[in-house]
Every structure is written in structure tokens, then in C-alpha cells.
Symmetry: D4
Subunit: 218 residues, 8 copies
């Protein structure tokens, strides 16, 4: 793909307060390098999502060294240095350890924009006591991102315990009827708790953007 096939949305920052994010899965190294060239030439920062170790490794040296990469979330910061120096205003919670790549994508997106996150992992409802042990801490946050796969019962339980905004991120964790995350997605949307909102499957980035839209108004 040549450079003229690519036209980044550099004005997004002034319009929405977001830099453009590049979803890297499926993009060739050549394609990624062209994008980074354009960003560098304009002095723009970029958030790279779903970028694999292999993709980062194959980039030209100059680009590779300019990226702050984190492998669990498969995210990279290009240009901007994420400095989450404020106290956390957003909690990010997971049902199981397999949901961490998704929750960490949310955390890293928050970091990119300077927001800290309060992370709680492995509090799925099959072991309810694990959640109840932490719930008083979690309730203090007015925004709670919840990543859960399989039956995604955690967002419902959370929505019934926490007065703040609960943003559910269904994950593709699971097999059989859970495979691909469709069951988790539908369970989160059908939640019996009032006012739980949902983003696309595995979309930690989107959950963080929603939180950022909100937190700026606080």
C-alpha cells in the first residue's frame, strides 16, 4: 500500500481530544511504517493497538526504538509518553486472568492519556468472596471498567453493587458456546442491573475511550 492510500485523522485530537489510534492486527510492516512516517513528519503521537511482538520487531530501527511497547496488552505508544501522574479516577476489573490482555489494553489507553487506573484482577463471580473482599474499594470509583468472558456475570453483579458508571467489556475468553465472546456480549447487554453499558468484544481500547470522554467532564 502506498503513502497516498493512507490519510490519518490528525484533526481528531482537536475535535474529540483523542489522537488517532492504529489497529495493527493484519497490517503489514510496510503499511505500519508508512503510518509512522506520516505521524513522525507531523510531530503527531499515535496509540498502536493489537500490535504483536513480531510486528514491532520487524519495524525499521528508528520507529521501533520510538515505541513504548507493552506485550500483554499488545499496545505501543509512538511519540507521546504516557505519564499517569494523577490519582486513579477509574477502576479496571477482570473476572479472570485470561481477561487481562483486554483489561490491560484499557489501562494502557488510559495511561497514554495521562490517567492512572486502579486494577483489580480475578474477581469472577464463581468465587464471589473474591469480589466482596474488594467491593468497598471499587465502589469509590465513579467509573468502573469490567472485562469478563464466558457468561460475563460479573458486570451484572457489579452493576448491582456499584453506583458509578459500569462499562462492560465482553472478552472472547472461553470455548464452546462462549467462543468468540458473543455469549459474554449478549449477557452483558441483557444485564439485569440498571444502566450497565457495553462495548465491542475485547475492546479494552473503546472502554477506556468512553471512560476518558466521561472523566474529562468530571
Amino acid at each position: 500500500m502506498s503513502a497516498q492510500d493512507i490519510r490519518l485523522d490528525f484533526e481528531r485530537q482537536s475535535r474529540l481530544g483523542f489522537d488517532e489510534a492504529i489497529f495493527c492486527s493484519g497490517k503489514t510492516v510496510g503499511h505500519l511504517a508508512t503510518i509512522l512516517d506520516q505521524a513522525r513528519d507531523r510531530g503527531a503521537s499515535l496509540l498502536l493497538t493489537r500490535i504483536s511482538v513480531e510486528q514491532v520487531g520487524a519495524l525499521p530501527d528508528a520507529h521501533r526504538s520510538a515505541i513504548d511497547y507493552e506485550p500483554v496488552s499488545r499496545t505501543g505508544f509512538f511519540g507521546r509518553v504516557g505519564r499517569p501522574d494523577k490519582a486513579a479516577r477509574i477502576a479496571v476489573v477482570t473476572a479472570g486472568t485470561s481477561d487481562v490482555p483486554t483489561s490491560r489494553e484499557a489501562v494502557r489507553t488510559l495511561h497514554y492519556y495521562g490517567e492512572s487506573a486502579f486494577e483489580v484482577t480475578d474477581v469472577g463471580v464463581a468465587g464471589l468472596w473474591r469480589l466482596l473482599d474488594r467491593i468497598e474499594e471499587i465502589k469509590k470509583f465513579s467509573i468502573v471498567i469490567v472485562a469478563a468472558g464466558m457468561d460475563a456475570a460479573l458486570p451484572s453483579v457489579m452493576g448491582g453493587l456499584v453506583p458509578g458508571l459500569v462499562i462492560a467489556v465482553p472478552t472472547s475468553v472461553g470455548y464452546g458456546v462462549a467462543q468468540g465472546g458473543e455469549t459474554a456480549l449478549r449477557a452483558a447487554l441483557a444485564s439485569c442491573a440498571p444502566g450497565v453499558v457495553v462495548v465491542n468484544i475485547d475492546n479494552g481500547y473503546g472502554a477506556a475511550c468512553a471512560a476518558l470522554r466521561m472523566v474529562r467532564a468530571l
Copy 2:
């Protein structure tokens, strides 16, 4: 439909310990009357499920008066008198009041075979304290039937709190993605709690039969 089109499975009682149950939804009154004639002629009992007030009302007097009818569950006992005189060995729990027609179908099926049920309603996870208030009582039962629609988070939470057999009955309660019960079904099957088993949507009868298969071996 004429009498020779109908051949009831009267041997089911000796083979499985169950009388034949007649699923009445969609059957004409003539069809039902022929079935009841055959049962009466053999001195057999029948459990009637999904039989509406209108269907019962339109039956010939002799048949109608021979039926012990309960409208919430839409069940009727023909011939057999359900006498649940033992202490309850099975708990039947619902997430919301809209799940009661299904849970009551389970309870009535148990009654038909002489089993009492311990009923708990409206303990859905959106108000977790309602469940926790009752959980010690529920844990005493080695078989717990759980009817829940929408996101069906209750079977997962129950499966993590109760050591006995948890039989989930997803219900068709809900709208949008919950409509028809498919989301509740898939969430129950994808449960993160170990060993939760599931029956068809709205199948209170089937859940009770499973419980009966088990309770006989106790």
C-alpha cells in the same frame, strides 16, 4: 386427529419411573380429549404441561373435573393426586417474578411425583443481598433448580456458592438480545462455576425430571 394416530408410552412408568407427560400447547381440544380417553381407559395418570385456562375450560366436563389445574404453571394432574408429604429435598429458586411460571412448572412436576420443593423467589444478582440473605438455607439442599432469564447470572453465582447439583433453567424472560431466552441459555452453559447443568429454555418440567432421576438414588 383420530385415536389411532395417538399411541401413548404407558410403559414409560416401569422403564423410567415417569408417567408420560403431555405437552398441550398447540394441541386441539379434540386431540387432548382423545389422549385423556386413552389414559382413563387404562387407568393411567398423566401430567399435563403448558395447558391454558382456555384449553382446560373447553374440555368435556368429565375430563375437566378430573384435572387438578394450577394456572401460573399451566399444569394439570390427571388421575394422580400429587401429595408432597415428605420434607423438601429439592430447592427451586428464581431470579425474578417473571421466572415463576417456569419454576412453578418444576415445583408442580415434583408435587405430581410426591416431592416437596423449597421455593425461593426474586433473588436475582442485581440485588445480591437478597440472595446472600437466603444462601445458607439454600446450601442445605443437595439439588438446586435455578430459573433465570435475561443474562442468567444467577446460576453461575449459585454454582459458586452451593456444593450440591445446580440445574439451570434459562427462561425466555427479557427483550432485545434476551428475547426468547437464547442469551440466558448460552450464559448458563458458559458458566464459570464448575458443574452447572442446563435444560432447554423454559423447561421447568425437564429440570424437575432431572431432579427426580437424582433424588431417587439418594
Copy 3:
């Protein structure tokens, strides 16, 4: 259904700041009356959703006259008087007039809790100028609820123009592939705009609850 089958979550108010809401579709008048009896006896208020003119008309006089009913949204306020006396902090936007029953359900839910809403209707993207005419007004709100059916392109366009939180409510408006709202739901979840969040199909109530969770923290 008898009174003991119903156990309302009256503590929800103190836990989450929400009264219990009663989803009335499919409930019998007897069932509704029992619920209203319990609320009246405790001096509690209730928000009634999806309650038809026929259901309201069939209630006992005392209950009927105690309900503030609005037919487009099919909502009723029991007990509480909604007084949205503050300036609106939330915009509620629809793509077409067929989406108004859903958007009005959101507006009424906000009113029930004392929040005004800034309503904009019929700004679907097929006539983009209608939206662009109003966008500067809409951008002033930090929370924008968007109800749209069919292809639900409006939440994406809105998400790219508005810096605040965009809560998409897919509606069941449409036929063929749009029937039931599944296409609108999936399009909203797959939105190319960052940070659009989504609730269940036709769930104006849920969108409002999410907005209320947020607005209380502002």
C-alpha cells in the same frame, strides 16, 4: 401469582440511587396490582416501563389515578413526581420519528429522577444537513443518548463529532435485515468512532440509568 412470589428490591435506592423499575410487558393486571400494593404499603415510588394504555386502564382505580402516565414512551410514575427543574445536562437524540418511543422512555426515566433532557429528533444521517444544523447545540452536552434503528449510522457519526459520552440505544425499527434491532445493535458496537457505548435494543430506560450514574458524579 400471589404476593409472596414477589419480593421487590426496595433497598436498591440506598445502594445504587435507583428505585426499582417494573418492566410491565407480559405481566398480568393482578401481578401489577400486587406490586403496586407492596410499593404503596412501604411508601415507595416505582418507575413503570413498557406499560400499555390497556394495562393502565385495567388497574384498580386507586392505583390508576396514582400513576402519571405517558403513552408514547409507555411509562408511568407511581408515587414519585418527576420534577426536572434543573437545566438539561443530557441530550437525547433520535435518527427518526420511529425511534421516539425509545428516546422518550429515556427522557421520562431522566424526568423521574429530576433530570431535564435536551431532545433532538429526526437527525438521521440520510439527511446529514439535519444533523449538522444541530450539532453545535448537541456538542455542549457531556452526555448524549442516541436512539437509532436500521443501520444505526448516527451513533458513529455522533461519536466522531461530539467529545462527550455517546450512549447508543439501538432500536428495533426497520424490516428485513433490520428487524428486531440486531443490525442496529451490532453496527453500534462495531462503531468506527472511539468510545461509543451501547445498551440493549430499545432500552431507553437503561441508557438513562447509565446517564444518571454518570451525571451524579459530575
Copy 4:
């Protein structure tokens, strides 16, 4: 993933009588090693499911040698030694040899908790005589786990012949409409036999857990 991202549910044993089971598919070796470290440090046992030969081979020596591995079921016992020294109380039956990985997962889970299993393979209904030859033996068990893919007709036939609890495990065996196991799942749920219960596709582990929940009450 670092150690603090992982919080095992070690209390599950006292609450439910189950050790935590680790679903290993998709987990990195580093992730698995961290989990095994935590278990070893607490002196806890773990059941490992869906763990491939390659995963086991890549573990640190100390962990690898501590695992009792069985390749057909892809299960490993860490710490606990399964000693099924009682007479079998549970039958585990398969329709075809392709269902054996799933049925063997059930058998191994039972062994982990000290239960023997009576295994019968290749009795699918396309060759009905194979089933009828063995049915008298199978009927002696009050719990029968049935693994079947494709059209999953075996659970229905079994449910009509056996008075005990029939737990169907649909498998992902088959191609075309059978691919992924959804047809087998739905056929098992729609069974015309009364009281057949169902677990997730390929979930031999879950079927065994259900059986264990029951057998403890016998």
C-alpha cells in the same frame, strides 16, 4: 503476565469441594508456570485441563515432573494423586471414538477426585445393536455421562432407556452443520426424553463436576 495479575480461588475446595481447575488452552508457558508456583507455594493441588503435550514439555523441569499427564484427554494432575479405588459409581459413554478426548476428560476429572468410571465407547445409535448389547450394564449406574457429537441422538435414546441422571456432553465432532458442536448441543437440549441435562460443548470436565456434586450426596 506477572504474578500479581493472578489470584487463584484456593478457598473453592472448602466452599464447593473442588480444587481450582486451570483451563490451559491459550495460556503461555510463563503464565502456567506462575500459576503452578502459587499452587506449590501453598501446597495446593490443581487439575490442568486442555493442556497440550507441547505446553507440558515447555514447562520448567520441576513443574513438568510434578504433573501426571494423560495425552488423549489433555489433562494433568499437579500435586494430587488420583486414586480411584472405589467401585465405579458413574458410567461414561461415547457415541464414537472421536468423542473419546472429551469423555476421557470427564474420566480423568473423576479420577482426580478419587472416583472410578465405567467406560463404554462407540455405542452411537447408527449401530443400535452396539448400544443394546451394553444397556443392561449401563442401567445399573445412577449417573450416566454421554459424550456425543454430530446429531447427538445418543443422549435421547439413553434418556429413554436409563432411569438415572443422564448428563449429555455435546462434542464438536463433525463437519458442515455439525461443525463446532452447536447442532449436537441443541439436539441434546431439545431431547424428547425427560430430564436429560446438558453442559457446554466438549466440556467433559463440567460433566464430571456435575456428577461429583451429585455423587457426594448419595
Copy 5:
């Protein structure tokens, strides 16, 4: 709809050996009358399928009296007199009485073309002895049509016992996951027995046509 909107395929008889069949569900009485006019004017016979008692009753007298109507199958013969005077060469079998409207549609289609049918009802696999009692009779037929809903296990069992052609007609009998017949359809297509063929859900007419295509070559 006016007469010129309708162009029947009267040449089908010479081409395929079938008269045109009119699927009447959803057609207005005016539409049906126009079709019958055209057939009468050409001296052609027609097989009417899915025609309700109400539709027949609303036809002009001359047409109504010219129709040989059977209500269970909702079929009518216009013009042609079905005289099945040969010995039956085709067996038509049902799993349950609820499948009889579909199986009877097949039988009536056969009658229309002069073929007798050997009918066997209520031999579903939940009561396997009912089938085994009749299997020797059924095996004598080289074509066996099997109508079954829910989990449609009967075609598989039949396909393993009978050497002739087994034509499965999945029916829309059942609720929950069985609703609409999709599960029965997919189970029949995924049959573990070799060489079972399948037609559309509730398509008794199509199964009979397939049998007729075959029986003419015998």
C-alpha cells in the same frame, strides 16, 4: 392481484410428472379463486397445500364443492381424485402425534398421485420399544419418510436399521431451542447414519415428491 399476475406452470406435468401445487398459506381468497379459475378453464388438477378450513370455507361455492379437503394435513385436491389403489410402496413414520400434520401432508400428496402409504405414528426414540416393535414391518419398504421435531433423533436411528432410502422431514414441533424446527433440521443433516436425506422443515409435500420421483423408477 389480477389474473394476469398469475401464470401457472401447467407444463410441469409433462416435464416432471407433477401437477403444480399451490402453497395457500398467506394467499387471499381472491388470489386462490383466480388460480382455481385458471385450472378449471384448462381442465387441470391442482394439489392445494397449507390451506386452512377458513380459506376453503370462504371460496365460492363452485370451487369449494370441487375440493376434496382434509383438515389435519390442510390439503385439498382440486379436480383430480386421489385413488391409492395399489399396495403401499412407501412407509410414512412419525416420532410423535404433533408431527402428524406434516406426515399426513406427505400421505395426502402420495394419495393425490395414486400411491398408498403405510403409516406408523408415535415411535419416537424416547420410548425405543415402540419403534423396535414395528421395525420389521418398516424395513420391508424401500422408501421410508420420517417426520420428527425437537431433536429429530428418529431419522438417525431409522437410518441405522433400515436399508432403504430414509427421507427425513424435520418438523417445527418443540419450544425453546427446538422452536421453528431448525434444531431438528440440523440434527437430521448431521445424522450419523449413512445416506439419510433431508427436506425443508415441515415439508411433507416435498418428501412425498421425492418419494414419487423415486418410486416411478422402481
Copy 6:
């Protein structure tokens, strides 16, 4: 719904050359009357689609008499008089008579904008000679709209015989797997003929609009 809830897109005519079309299914008479008031007040014309005889009959006299109504297509012209006085430039073809409501909606939409249509009905591929008899006439048109339900084989066959633009309109005609038109839709999209385009199920209006977009450029 009140007048301010409705904002018609009267500028659509100048922008796209289309008047706004009102999809009437599900709209109340009050809603429709308000729309017609607005149109009348601006001297605008409207195309009404999916408007039933009952809806038209219930309108105020002044509106009713101002509508040119056609019941098969359920369309009405308000204000504008369709005068298709040119020779037809577009062929509209149906597979069966049940597809005529949809094809007639296309024809009426063309008439509204002054375009004649060349109509051919009942040329489905099950009687291929019916199509081949008419194909030379049809090939003369550079735009061919094809309405077909069930398996929608006609668009593929047409696409292989006709050099002009083939616009497939899948219809919801059929039962079982054909119900709702999804099979027809997918078959048309998967057509083996090059360059067949498709619109939503039953969307005769949309097919006509596409044809109009094209014919204006000829």
C-alpha cells in the same frame, strides 16, 4: 407523537432527486396525519409505503381523498400524480405470484417518479421454459429488477443471461429455512453470476430508487 417530534427531510428532493418516502407500517393514524399535514402545508408530495387499507381508511377524509392508493403494493401517492408516460426503461420481474406485492412496490415507486415499468411475473426457475420464453424481451432492458423468495435462484440465472444491471430484491416468501427471506437474501448475495446487486428483503422501494438513480444518468 406531537408535531415537533417529526422533522421531514423536504430538502431530499433537491439533494438527491427523491421526495421523502414514509414507511407507514407500525405508525399510528395520528402520526401519519401529522406527517401529511406537514407535507400539505409545504405543498410537498410524499410516497407512502407499507400503508394498509385499514390505515388509509382511518385517515381524515381530506387526507384520504388526496391519496392515490394501490392495495397489492400497499403504496399511496400523496400530492404527486404518477404519470409514467415514457416508454419503459426498466424491467421488473418476479419468480412467483407471492413476490408480486414486493415487485409492485417497485413498479409504483417508479410510477411515482414518472417511469414506466415492463412487468413479467411467475418466471421462477423451477419452470425454466417460462423464463426462456420471455428472456429476449427482458434482455432489451439495461436495468432489470428481480424479486424472488425461497432459494432466490432467479437473480443468478438472470445475471447470467442479461448484460444489463440486475437488482435482486429477496422476498420473505417461503417457510422453514426460507422464512423471513434470509435465505433468499444470502443466495442473491452469493450469486455465481458477476455483478448482481442486492437490496434489503422485501425492499421493492429501494430497488426502484436504485434504478432511478441509474436511469437519470442514461
Copy 7:
């Protein structure tokens, strides 16, 4: 998997006239070798389907040399020598060359049982003349197997032209909505031609078995 996990249905030959067929996809070489050992020891023949070149190559020499392998269909004959020495009684037709692996599986299955096949390839309806050129030859056969993917229009057209039995084999050929063969399957089931029967996606083997069931009765 050990030898006792495998129990072949060697009696199928006497019961149905079919040897057992082994679906090899997904089976390990060890598993296949055990099966072949059992067959050899009993002097039985086996039809191997979906067996890859790699699988055959990895078998022990003695087994490999005993297999008559054909790579397009991925079938192998073990033991039995297929000698199709009679004139063909069955036509096997494909829409495109990509359907040949499936149609060839049918042909090879017929050969295994001594039946010749009359093969016609590449007569899809997008180039209708290709089919019409061959239709008189095809019509002579009383059984016609039709393999077609994508929109599967060929079975419908064939069903309207040929008086014999038309057995449709939908194939997984195609992309987008055609991917996996579901569209082809549903189109074949919804065929507007009377009496077309259908087997599972890509199931050339099943289509041949159905033909064999029928041809034996001729």
C-alpha cells in the same frame, strides 16, 4: 487412543449393505492404524474419507500399500477393490470445478460399491447454456447427484428439468455470505422445485449412500 477405545460396526454390512466408513479428518495416524489393524484382522474392507496425502504417507507401509488412494476426493479403499463394471445408473453433476472434490467423493463411494457414475462438471447456472447442452443426457438418469456451492441455484434448476431423484450436496465453496456452505445448504432446502432432497455440506459420501440405498431397489 488404545485399541479398546475403538469398536467398529462390522455388522453394518449385513444390516444396511454398507461397510463402515472412516472419516479420517482429525484422526491421528496411530488412531487410523489401529482401525486398519482391526479391519485387516477381521478381513473387512473399509472406505476411508477425508484422508489427506499426508495421513496416507504416514501410515505403516503394509497399510499404505493396501490402500487404493485418490487425492482429489481424499478417499481410500482398504481391502475392497471397487470395480464399477455396470453401466452408470447415477449421474453426478457439479456447478463449478471447485465442487469437484465433493462430487468425486460421491463418485468414489459409488465405485467402492461397484456402481459407475456419469460425471458432468462445470454446468453452473451463471452460464445456463452449459447446462442446457447436457440436460438431455442427464435426464436419462433416475438419480442425479448435484454438488453446488455459493448460491446453489443448480439443484433448483435441475429439479425443474429432471424427473428423477435430485440429491443436492451443498458445498462450502465461496466466501463472504457463502463461506462454510450454509447459504448453499439453505438455498437447496428452500428450493422452489418439488422433491429435491439434501445432505450435509460437502457430504459427497452421504449423497452416494442415499443413491446406493435407492439403486438397490431398482
Copy 8:
């Protein structure tokens, strides 16, 4: 596959004005070589679609050097030299750079037949200004092909701004609910703009063929 298994539709050119196009994905090199042999022997040109770099590289030298290959679109011209020497009459627009492989397939197909294309990339609605900047140029074209994945909001917005024919090509770009392109497809079909037509997912070739069918009549 041998040469007689392949029968190209060389008459398509005279019938429809299209050469046969070969969909190369999944075809072996031997299969492709045979096809190219047949084309060369008849002096025919072929358009090769979805042909990978690896497939081209593995062809015999003579064939490889005769192919004009373009890797982004994965298309090859065999024989014919595409000379798009006229001014562009068709616009080809994409929402994002990930849609370029599909849009480029359309462009290359147009080139093969001598048509230029006016390409516009990266004008998705999340950054609406990018589209509005270019819309006046795009509106000049009477045919606009729009490739978009995810929520495919661009075809709707385009359909409301452009009076010409809008051909939507949904792409499989996206993850979660967008994966595979089904959401984009359904959103395009449900478009709220009048007269948008749709082709199969990722079917740039088909969109171009539709445009060619139309442009020839201009």
C-alpha cells in the same frame, strides 16, 4: 484435477460482455495452470482474483510472465492488457486503509475492462470532515463504489449526499461483532438512505462488474 474436470465459460464475453474471472483462493497451482492452458489455447483473456504472491510465484514461467500482477488487490490480468484510457466515470471510495485491498480489486477489475476509476481513500464517518472535504468531487460521478467494514456507516452517509448509484461493498475489516463483515453487510442492506445497493462481503470484483453493466448503457 484433470483438464476434463474444467470447462470454462468462454461464451460469457459474447453473452454478458465479461470474460470469465477465476477466483484463485484455494485452487492448487496445478489447477490454475490447467485453466491458464485452456485460456491460452483459445487465445482468451482471464481476470484472476484472490491470487496470492505465492500462487503466482509457483506457476510455470510462461504463465507467470504472462500475468500482470498487483499484490494489494491480489489480482492478475492474463492475456488482456488493461488500458484505462478514458476519463474516469466511476468513483471508488473507502472508509479506511484496511478496506483498500477490496476497493483496489474493484479498481483493477475496471482497469481490465478499460475503465479508469477515481479513487478516494480513508474518508470514514468517524472523521466526517474528511468526507465533506471530498464530497463535491465525488458527487460528480454517477456511479460510486463504497468499500467499508466495521459498522459500514459510510454507504448510508454517501447515499444521502450523492444522487448517483451507490454500490456498497461491505468488508471483513474489524473484530468482535465486526469480524467476517456480517455487521457491515447488514448495516449496508439496512441503510436509511434510499437506493443503496449491496454486493457480497469483500466482493470488489462484483461491485466493479455491476458498475460495468451500468456504464455500458450510459
